[in-house]
């Protein structure tokens, strides 16, 4: 009986402690958060440390386009050259074989 009473008391104390600590945690978290802005701020009016520079992204995009197209063009031209050389060699071999 005594054991059961102690257990009930322990459970009540534990639940009460958790309930008492519960609301404190969000309050503490809220206090740690930076101050919220309540209206839209245009990107060019943000502080410099929050702004992402556009120029590197733009330069990367255009460089990638030019490099990708150029690389593909070179790749097709090289493959065409290899096949053409092999064709020429085979045709000349065939001609020599005939004569």
């Amino acid at each position: 009986m005594m054991k059961r009473l102690c257990l009930s008391l322990f459970v009540i104390v534990a639940v009460s402690a958790a309930a008492a600590r519960g609301p404190l945690r969000p309050a503490l978290l809220f206090a740690q958060q930076p101050q919220q802005q309540d209206e839209f701020i245009p990107i060019d009016q943000l502080p410099p440390q929050d702004q992402l520079p556009a120029a590197p992204l733009l330069v990367t995009a255009y460089s990638f386009v030019v490099l990708a197209l150029f690389a593909y063009l070179i790749s097709v031209a090289r493959r065409l050259g290899v096949v053409q050389r092999e064709l020429d060699r085979l045709q000349s071999d065939a001609r020599r074989g005939r004569t």
Partner: protein, 218 residues
């Protein structure tokens, strides 16, 4: 190469030289500023990516039902261009999004479907390279899925919630921004025609080479 190839290549080269001037002179978009200029290569490459997927799909259908090897060569050439213009679209898009949306990527329907379409084209090329005999028909079947994905990519932004702009943006652009984008599209389109012709020529020569080897062996 056909007679039209060289004049078209010269015109395309000149257009590539003029396009950056038009893009530089286009006005800044009011909210995104400088980074919005990625739009002038992102949108044309995306349209050519979809066009190449359609060309690959149509040529594959004709090859499956007609058996003409020329259609197979066109499909193979177009699949490479799907990969090329697809990677341009998938790289320039996130570079723009990082600044405009604050994230590199969103798993929304258009972006995910575009990535899927690109991966189908990569799968097509891998199948052609390593698939062995019969891979041409199998790859042609795969290209149909790539083509079926195209309308889905295009209209998805109008039906599903996304932060990607809808298809209404292009027709409502002012001339000062619309002209450079259509000019760049025309340049990319000419380049697509030229690259497609070059790539088909490569396959024609390979077929000629195979025939020559067979005749030598015989």
């Amino acid at each position: 190469m056909p007679k039209w190839f060289l004049p078209l290549a010269i015109v395309c080269g000149l257009m590539f030289a003029v396009a950056p001037i038009l893009i530089a002179n286009a006005p800044y978009e009011s909210t995104m500023g400088l980074v919005q200029k990625i739009f002038y290569v992102h949108l044309p490459s995306a349209l050519i990516f979809l066009l190449a997927a359609v060309v690959c799909g149509v040529a594959s259908v004709r090859y499956l039902f007609g058996g003409n090897p020329r259609h197979d060569r066109i499909a193979w050439a177009a699949a490479e261009l799907v990969v090329l213009f697809g990677i341009i679209t998938l790289v320039t898009g996130p570079l723009w999004a990082r600044k405009a949306w604050g994230v590199w990527w969103q798993w929304d329907v258009r972006l995910t479907a575009s990535l899927m379409g690109w991966m189908v084209a990569v799968a097509y090329l891998l199948l052609r390279k390593y698939g062995g005999p019969g891979s041409d028909k199998l790859a042609a079947g795969l290209a149909l899925f790539g083509m079926a994905n195209v309308p889905f990519i295009y209209i998805s932004v109008n039906y599903w919630r996304t932060i990607h702009p809808t298809t209404n943006v292009l027709p409502t652009l002012p001339v000062s921004m619309g002209f450079p984008v259509w000019f760049t599209f025309a340049t990319f389109f000419l380049l697509f025609i030229l690259l497609l012709r070059m790539r088909v020529r490569l396959e024609e020569q390979r077929a000629q080479l195979d025939a020559l080897y067979l005749s030598v062996d015989a």
